[in-house]
Amino acid sequence: MASRRRLLVGLFVVLCAIAPAFAWLPEVTGTGTPATDRWNFGGFPVAWNLNPQTGSNIQGSRSVHDVIAASFATWLAAPNATINVSEGPITTVSSEAASPASVNLICFVCTDADFSKDNTTLAVTITTTTDSAGQNDGHGGTAAFAGELIKADIIFNPSVQFSTDPGGVGEDLQTVATHEIGHFLGLDHSAVVRAVMFPFASDLTTLSYDDVAGISALYPKGTPDYTSGSISGTVQFASGTPVFGAHVFAESTTTSEPLGPNIRKSPIGTLSKPDGSYTISGLPADSYNVTAEPLDGPVSSSDIDGFPSAYGRDTVDTNFTTKRY
């Protein structure tokens, strides 16, 4: 289209030891310089609390407890990440509005949320963060940083048929739970199709490279399981104007599986910041092609919760064509 401007991508490839890096995947809080949402595992114990009560909409041979536990275990086993989340006491809380600060509720019978009347909404995760350090964390202390997660509830729609068995009738509960637990831990949706955090992922109960990159950026392990690197650069129009919110992803050009067979190989992506800069972190040693593409579907700006508004923008730039390097 004549209206499209040519895109220039300046790539400064830096393969180095992993360093704290901002991936585009996390939820963010605040504006201007948004803070990454994450738990402070040194502040208070983080546990999930299951209300095991279910209706007839849950079918299958496994209990919901076993499915939820397996879904958390998937994330806790992510390489290069340290996630201190444990199973807490069973709860009888059966209303989202009655969920206290001390409970991270996993509920199958909460009917008070308006979304439960839509059987197209399978589940939601409601996260609570502090806007600044020093806020009461609801656990007897104060928040150490802005964006500190202090509560997360996962509400499964009681109007939706779920199966606890793979391939059973209804939605696969472990697929939905694994995705929602990603939100519980602070991850936003991903534009990488093969990621668990892709908003329309289908029957995915194992993590992808993109998921691992995101979670390990949030909760880096002191002694990494594998050596990773990052690719940084700038996306800009031919005029020199930076491209905000370009989906930039690195895709391996080899068939190697540096993270083993249990982590699905996928591109690893990020979004460019208002100045056009990006850093794709958590990359295993490999050869990569880098692509910058507009976030104009299937994942769009609206799927990336709060990203544009966190930077004081209404939307991301999409008036350019895909470029591959």
Binding site: A98, I126, R194, G297, S300, S302, S309, N319
Partner: protein, 178 residues
């Protein structure tokens, strides 16, 4: 985007197992909504519920056109999530309207029966209206790619394009008459 799109289309065979939400067509949204309006957000604020457990964002929307229902004047929209008192609550994919936003909204009364309206399909019934700078077209987008037709067994056709406002209006009218 084409390559990613192609991968997605392959996955759509199994979209009945989609995580979080299953896409609703405009026809589905029209059927599920008691009210479909076009309007502009004139006021927006967030507040904790009385139990101090949930933050809701309330938005007053001035109606410019009613496509379904008998509403006129203004409606008060309620969405889960927002910032209040030094805390922020989020539901991934849900975007509270901000003052000045223009949207086509597929709505029904809140279960709380408090006079507020909620968006059908979590965030799917919220089509942001914008004018494309280059073409001048007025387009709508709910962030969930348009599904032409969905059935109990899955999505039968996928189109990953924005709609113009006129196209959306026409499909709502056809769905109401059909």
């Amino acid at each position: 985007m084409k390559r990613l799109l192609a991968l997605t289309i392959l996955l759509l065979v199994g979209l009945a197992s989609a995580t979080t939400v299953k896409p609703m067509s405009i026809e589905d949204l029209t059927t599920a909504a008691s009210t479909v309006i076009e309007g502009k957000a004139t006021e927006s604020w967030s507040a904790w519920n009385p139990q101090h457990t949930l933050i809701y964002t309330f938005t007053r929307v001035r109606i410019s056109k009613t496509l379904k229902g008998n509403n006129d004047g203004t409606i008060l929209l309620k969405q889960l999530g927002g910032s209040a008192g030094g805390y922020t609550q989020k539901v991934a994919g849900v975007h509270p309207l901000m003052t000045g936003d223009q949207a086509v909204l597929f709505l029904r009364p809140s279960e709380a029966r408090d006079g507020t309206m909620v968006i059908v399909g979590l965030m799917q019934g919220n089509f942001h209206i914008e004018r494309e700078a280059k073409s001048g077209s007025v387009v709508v987008n709910n962030g969930v790619n348009d599904v032409h037709q969905s059935t109990a067994t899955g999505v039968t056709e996928y189109r990953g394009a924005k709609l113009t406002l006129k196209q959306l209006e026409a499909r709502v009218r056809r769905a109401m008459n059909g």
